[in-house]
Symmetry: C2
Subunit: 637 residues, 2 copies
């Protein structure tokens, strides 16, 4: 069947099942969804489970949207809303989501926009056509999020055309008689960095992640030039497990190479990814390195990104369904589960995952409707890669802070902007609030503030406890007065010059550049200060050298000069904050997995760790395992 | 370096090393060779090891050819030769080989063409420019061979252009910094049939074999549609281990799909391949099946085929050298050895091979300069797949013939045209000559006569003993008067009607069509006759059913009708004539291999046998083994 035949068939079924008094103006594929346009969206909303049962019958993701005819222009709609809603509600922003026909109204007092029994909301709908959703004005402004929303609104027509093209491609008929499933390794095998996998069937080719090399080697991209990936224009989709650059950093490059398909990820992954990619090319430009792609390509990524929430089962090709599940690693991080064919095969990619409840996230999901193969990380897959408990880690961190501050020193924490920073912030906020350590400012330098703002935009991606604390107890730890954003060179200099006891979180996490270098230069030589590592220090980085005990380290000082920094400050490492599962958690994940996979592939770890984890899983659980090299193709079915 | 820079560089080096009195008119790449054209080919020939040492210095296959200017037109050359050579020499044919500038003169009395101390030959050279080579007129006329030679002469200009294009492609510079070697399985894994492998590096992609499915399933082609093979126009070369259809039957299809590169194989493989491919499409047409390609595509194959003799080390890509070695399976069958990069990796494909001296061939070569991986067949890889010794098999065959003939019956031997037929012919000829069995005619029906004629055209591909017997003792067993070709329907009917004791070799070997069916219909019901199987009978074939003991077999009788044949004749199987190594020989091959491979991949056997052989080799020799599925990619280096 051609896609037009498929669509006609669906249209007839829909019309046949709808009550006669409900009229529809159009039915079309937009991305993975089958969209019904109607001039009477209320009627649909009022007919209970109609959509749900229709979707189940048709086995499609079905959504009903107001016909564009009944949608007011955004500018006019804003005026209308302001006339209906009392000014005390404190509306701070409107986001018109052209994908869904929804308008998100941000207000300081959401109740006043909703009105008694939703009265005000209904009035708004009638007036503007758009479906209003009300949210509390986010407590921290994220420039990234508002830029992305504005960009999507400005490009709504192009975006709609893209979604229609994608939709027609997803719902094309199956043409091959052959049935097989293959996995090709394009990066991250027996190494950390440049994560990239190709999952293919006779019908569909999907890339899972497309990251940069951690070593910073400019040639260290995934093996995108091999024929399996070509023509790149015919790849069906890219799925991102999370936003870190070693997983998502080279997605813009794919568009440069001719890719035109969708990127699937969670909403926070989209926002964090844009932040990190923009920073990536910024840093490259500042350091005079080759820039792999221009910001225009990041905008292409955004135009083509289709966000999915955890648990949404979504058609991404004629023979493939994708579901994202919480991975517990960073905000929006996902275990990507693929259901291939009609019951033929199920494979999940854990991405980076944490199988432990952390301050921010629930543990990674280990239950699947069906599963044959799991591709899992092995960063800490070695038999000695045990981390201390989170409790011990927190105590250790508090102790270090206490001692340093009592000594009138500064505690410097080099950290990656997304993930560890927020985890450490919560621990420090609690320690200050509970007076376990002195009440000193906690300075956030680099992108940490912006990354934290993105966290507060997506509270539904945090764990229950933290969400409760924020919403119901009105205690958002990120808003604590102890946190101070460093937003200028002058302010940074002032902090350094004052020599007042304080805590500083600054990027980058491995001391290979970023504002942390400024602090190190001044605080390093003084014994009263402490630097504590909370993340993995890769071999060859300055962080690693200092961790090993170097007392004098050469640092690039600009203009071709190198200077030497004396390290007299106390150096320590607190291991338990990692967003990666340690050895125990990795094995526990396999033990608890339901149903148990028949085949496990280890990757995202050095050679020793990938092999060690694979053979340990085989020995303990008698599950067939494999630690492939890059550039292999494994036949799964 | 571009290929022009490479060529200029080589030209300068050649000119610098040649003595001043030798002039050259051109230097160019033609296929894998670097060709020096000269108007004075004699001077080169007279300067001893000049070419040899030059080739060693330049690390290229170097050949010297007469400048086309000094070559007479073939027609004129033939007239000139006939004027020089005495008519009693009995010249039967001239083959002008445009690739080499040689003319092969076939004569009944070669001595008269050569003349005293080569006098006549020198006179010919002076007159015609071509380098004359004299061979004895082959004792059996092969229509295939003479058609191919004539075709090549008729297309010499196109052929030269093709070789130049291929030469420039082979000698292009290496461009990638990456170094890796990958093997992708496209057929014959855990199955017998549709042999096809892709060997690839960042520079070069090579197909090894491209065969049809044995089951006859029209969809059972190798997985040529996967992206690894595309665009097919950019594949560098196809290498054929031997001519059987399950290894070479679909090469013409590649040209239909846009392949323009060379096919490398031995000269007998080329001739047998053309014979079998033409028959393949003939049979398909006769049986009303879909014809996968037209004879024009077989002609494309011939135009692009570059023949290599055993032991020739040949550049087939900028980072790959190929050497073919005797495999002992059928005439021209080869173990294909690849040397990749500059010492990076060595891999050999055994193809089908026999590790035992047979009547026709020496055992397969097991010595290599270097070897890391061997891809070997596992047809008889199961732990019980032992064959009787060849001596026992021969005795068994003689006994069956003796008893049947004494009983005034006929001995019917269904056999594949190429390989087993010639082996059995030699055994029968000896038995008749030594009067171990009665002196009866041995009828050859189907393509057996033509295939035998191709054997006599390439005596250098037979083993020493047989070659000696033919050349020095003047006893060519294939020419024995006992062999009678059946070349018409009438003759076949006469043989059947006469009911005289005789031996009949007829195709096809598994009774799925061919002239053997006519004999079976008439001889099957009579108890005094015997049918003996000498080759593998695949599951589902008529041969297999009769072997299992069926006494009544349904046979398609044309026109939609099926008739039943009663099998009252004696049925027996003689196992020892197989061209495949049995289990003991397979293991012995690994044991004797020098140096010993680090990694062995088993294929060309059913799932059980591939797995059994792989695990037995691992247990016995501690060599890492693998029995991959189709559609996998193994990273070798």
């Amino acid at each position: 069947m051609t896609v037009d035949e498929v669509l006609n068939d669906l249209k007839q079924k829909i019309r046949a099942q709808l009550p006669k008094d409900i009229t529809i103006s159009d039915v079309d594929f937009e991305g993975p969804e089958l969209v019904i346009y109607t001039e009477e969206p209320r009627k649909f909303a009022d007919s209970g489970d109609l959509i749900k049962s229709l979707a189940k019958d048709l086995r499609k993701r079905l959504v009903v949207r107001p016909d564009p005819k009944v949608l007011a222009q955004p500018e006019g709609a804003i005026t209308s809303i302001s006339k209906i809603v009392p000014p005390e509600s404190g509306i701070s922003n409107h986001y018109f989501d052209v994908d869904t026909g929804e308008v998100i109204i941000e207000a300081e007092k959401p109740g006043l926009v909703i009105g008694r029994h939703g009265e005000t909301l209904r009035e708004i709908t009638k007036e503007i056509g758009w479906t209003p959703k009300v949210v509390r004005t986010p407590p921290m402004k994220s420039a990234t999020v508002s830029n992305i929303r504005q960009f999507m609104r400005a490009n709504k027509d192009e975006r709609k055309a893209i979604l229609k093209t994608i939709g027609r491609k997803i719902h094309r008929g199956v043409s091959s008689k052959d049935k097989w499933v293959r996995l090709t390794t394009l990066g991250a095998c027996r190494e950390v960095g440049r994560s990239c996998f190709l999952l293919s069937t006779p019908e569909t080719r999907i890339l899972i992640d497309c990251g940069v090399s951690v070593s910073g080697d400019e040639n260290g991209t995934p093996y995108l030039y091999v024929p399996e990936v070509h023509p790149i224009g015919q790849i069906d989709a890219v799925i991102l497990t999370h936003a870190h650059l070693d997983h998502a950093g080279l997605v813009p490059l794919l568009y440069k190479y001719g890719f035109e398909g969708p990127v699937y990820c969670t909403p926070p992954t989209r926002d964090l990814m844009a932040l990190l990619q923009l920073d990536y090319i910024d840093v490259a430009a500042r350091e005079g390195r080759k820039i792999p792609y221009e910001s225009a390509m990041i905008r292409e990524v955004l135009k083509h990104t289709i966000t999915l929430n955890y648990g949404d089962v979504t058609d991404i090709g004629p023979d493939m369904k994708l579901t994202l599940h919480n991975a517990g690693h960073i905000l929006g991080s996902s275990v990507a589960h693929f259901h291939v064919g009609d019951g033929l095969y199920n494979i999940a990619f854990t991405g980076d995952f944490k199988y432990e409840k952390t301050r921010l996230f629930d543990p990674a999901v280990a239950d699947f409707p069906r599963i044959e193969t799991v591709v899992m990380e092995a960063t800490y897959g070695g038999s000695r890669d045990m981390q201390p408990s989170r409790k011990d880690a927190e105590r250790h961190m508090q102790q270090l802070a206490k001692e340093t501050l009592e000594n009138r020193g500064c505690l410097l924490i080099p950290t990656f902007a997304v993930g560890r920073s927020q985890e450490v912030m919560i621990v420090l906020e609690e320690a200050i609030r509970k007076e376990l350590i002195g009440n000193v400012p906690v300075y956030l330098d680099g992108m940490i503030y912006e990354a934290t703002a993105i966290h507060t935009t997506h509270p539904e991606y945090l764990n229950n406890e933290l969400r409760n604390q924020i919403f119901h107890k009105g205690m958002n730890p990120f808003l604590s007065k102890c946190f101070v954003q460093v937003d200028s060179k002058e302010m940074r200099q002032k902090i350094i010059d004052s020599r007042e006891p304080c805590i500083i979180l600054a990027t980058s996490g491995m001391l290979n550049g970023g504002p942390v270098m400024e602090y190190l230069r001044s605080l390093g030589p003084e014994e009263r200060n402490t630097m504590v590592f909370v993340g993995y220090q890769a071999e060859g980085t300055l962080g690693r050298r200092i961790q090993k005990g170097w007392k004098e380290v050469p640092v690039y000082a600009g203009g071709g000069r190198t200077e030497t920094i004396k390290i007299n400050m106390r150096i320590d490492t607190v291991d338990g904050f990692s967003g990666h599962s340690d050895r125990v958690q990795l094995l526990e994940y396999v033990r608890r997995m339901r149903p148990r996979a028949e085949h496990i592939i280890t990757q995202h770890g050095d050679e020793k760790n990938c092999m060690d984890l694979a053979s340990s899983i085989y020995r303990k659980f008698k599950i067939e395992t494999r630690a492939p090299m890059n550039l292999e193709t494994i036949r799964l079915a």
